[in-house]
Amino acid sequence: MKLFSESIEVENAAERPKDDALEKLHCGGCGKDMIADIAHANDSTCPYCGALFRQPAYKRIEMIVDSGSFIEIEREAESKDPLSFPGYKTKIASEKTKSNMQEGVIIGKATIKGQRTAIAVMDSYFMMGSMGTVVGEKIVIIAGFATMNRLPLIIFCASGGARMQEGIHSLLQMSRTTIALARHSEQKLLHVNVLTHPTTGGVTASFAMQGDIIIAEPKSLIGFAGPRVIEQTVKDKLPEGFQTSEYLLGKGLIDRIVDRKDLRDTLAEILGLHCKR
C-alpha cells in the first residue's frame, strides 16, 4: 500500500518561525503575570512557583530531542474548510498568526540521546490542539513513516478534542489514526504517549490511549469528556483532583507521571529498553 510514501517533504527545523507571538502569561498557580518568553525559556514553567504552562510544540522539541537532530516533515500542510463552516477560515488565519504554527501538530524524525525516533508534538496554542483533518492526517503520516522506517513513535498529546468546524471529517480522524497506529503496532514497533495538559475528547478516545507506554506530565487535565460537560450531566460538583494525571495514575489508566525536566531522560530510557539487540 503506497499511502504514506507520497509527498513527504523534508525541511530543516532551523528555518522555523519564532514563537514570539505569545507575549504574556498568567500563572494559575501563584496568580503572577510574566513575559511568555521568560517562562518558556524556563521549560515553560512559572519561575515564581514552578507551575507548568502549556508548552509550545517547537519549545517541546528543543527540550526533548538532541540539538539539531529534528527534521520536520509535512510542515506546510494546512486546513481547508471542508464544510464551509461559518467563520472557520478567519479563525484558522488568526490562530496561525497567534501561535506561529501552521496547524495543531508538528511531526518529524529526531534522535534522543542518539536513539532514532519518529515524533509528533501537538500544540494547544493552535485552536486548543483540536483534531481536524490536518492533525489527523499528520498523525497518520508520521505513523506510516515510522512503520516504513521501523522507528519507534513518540506522541506528545495536547488537545481539546475533535475540531467541530470540520464536523464528521474531524471525528473520522479517530478511526484513521487508530488504523495507522495499529499498522505500526503490528510491526512490533514501540509507541509511547506523553499526555500533557489538556488531553481530552476524541484524542483521548483514540491515539492518546493506544500507546504501549503512557506517561503524563503532573497535574494535567486528562479525560474523555471535559469537566464542565460532566458537571452539567451529573449536576454536581466534581471531586477534588478529578481527571488529573495523578487521578488517572491512581485509577490504573497511565504508567507514570514524569516532571517536565525529566522527560528527555525518561524517554531515552524507554527507547533504550525497547531497542532490539
Partner: protein, 279 residues
C-alpha cells in the same frame, strides 16, 4: 415525519433549510425503531451474551449471537429504550465503559468463530459521568476502535438513529457503513456545537445545518456506503419495509465480504479509511 423528504412545490426552500434539524429530531423520536426492534425482526435464534466479565452488564449496548438467514452472526446494538423505565435502565442510550468492553468481547468471539459482525449504532454519545471517566471511557473507546481496526472478520455498521460523536464512532469502523435516511452522524450534538461555538444552545438548528450531519451529506462525502430510504409513517410498529431493505443490503454485503480472505479484508478496511482524507 416524511416532510423532510418533501422538497418540491411551495415552501420547498424553507423545508430544505429546516431539513438537517428535522432529521435530527426524527432520529430522536421515541417511537423510532431501536436496536432491539431490529434484532427481533432481522435475526432469529438470538442468544444474548451479557457482561464484560469485569465490572458489569451495560444495557445500553446489547450483544448477541444470532442467525441472519443461514449465517451465524454477532450483533452489537446500542439501545436507548422506548418507555421511561427502559430509557432509564439503558441510561438513555449512553453507554458506560463496561458496555464497550462487553462489545470488544463480542468482537473477539466473532473473530474466533469467523462470524460477521453487524453493529446497530444509536446513541447521543458515550456517557459523560464521573464513574465513566473513572473506569476509562476514553481508553475503552480507543481500544474498541483498535479492536475493530484489526478484526479479522467482516463488519457492517448501520446507523439507525443517532450517531453521536465518539460513542457512535466506536461502532462505525467497518467494512460497510449504512445509514437510515433520518439518522445523523456528527462530531458533536447540534446543541453542544451551538452552545460552544455560537454561545447559545437555542441555535441548534443552525448548528445542525452547518455540521453537515445528515445521511445525504455523508453520502456526498463518500463516508457512508448506502442510505436506506424511510417510508411514510415509519416507526417501530411500521418497520417491515426498512427491515426488508436492510436485510437485502446486509445479505448482498455478506455474500461479497465473506468471500474475501480475512487478512485482505482488514487491509481493504485500512485502505478505505486511510483514503478518506477529507481534504
Amino acid at each position: 415525519m416524511t416532510n423532510a423528504t418533501n422538497n418540491t412545490g411551495v415552501g420547498a426552500f424553507t423545508a430544505n433549510k429546516e431539513k438537517p434539524w428535522e432529521r435530527v429530531k426524527n432520529a430522536r423520536k421515541e417511537n423510532r425503531p431501536q436496536a432491539r426492534d431490529y434484532i427481533g425482526k432481522l435475526f432469529h435464534g438470538v442468544f444474548e451474551v451479557k457482561g464484560d466479565r469485569c465490572f458489569g452488564d451495560d444495557p445500553a449496548i446489547i450483544t448477541a449471537v444470532a442467525w441472519f438467514e443461514n449465517w451465524p452472526v454477532t450483533v452489537i446494538g446500542q439501545q436507548k429504550g422506548h418507555t421511561l423505565e427502559e430509557r432509564m435502565a439503558c441510561n438513555f442510550g449512553m453507554p458506560h465503559p463496561e458496555g464497550y468492553r462487553k462489545s470488544i468481547r463480542a468482537l473477539k468471539q466473532a473473530e474466533k468463530f469467523s462470524r460477521p459482525v453487524i453493529c446497530l449504532v444509536d446513541t447521543p454519545g458515550a456517557f459523560c459521568g464521573i464513574e465513566a471517566e473513572e473506569r476509562g471511557q476514553g481508553l475503552i473507546i480507543a481500544e474498541h476502535l483498535r479492536a475493530m481496526a484489526t478484526l479479522k472478520t467482516s463488519i457492517i455498521s448501520i446507523i439507525i438513529g443517532e450517531g453521536g460523536s465518539g460513542g457512535a464512532l466506536a461502532l462505525s469502523l467497518s467494512d460497510r457503513l449504512i445509514m437510515l435516511e433520518n439518522s445523523y452522524f456528527s462530531v458533536i450534538s447540534p446543541e453542544g456545537c451551538a452552545s460552544i461555538l455560537f454561545k447559545d444552545s437555542s441555535l441548534a438548528q443552525e448548528a445542525a445545518e452547518n455540521l453537515k450531519l445528515t445521511a445525504s451529506d455523508l453520502k456526498t462525502f463518500n463516508i457512508v456506503d448506502s442510505v436506506i430510504k424511510e417510508p411514510e409513517g415509519f416507526d417501530r410498529f411500521n418497520m417491515d419495509k426498512i427491515v426488508m431493505d436492510l436485510g437485502r443490503d446486509i445479505k448482498r454485503t455478506l455474500r461479497r465480504l465473506t468471500r474475501i480472505k480475512p487478512d485482505r479484508l482488514v487491509e481493504k478496511r485500512h485502505e478505505k479509511f486511510l483514503g478518506m482524507r477529507g481534504l
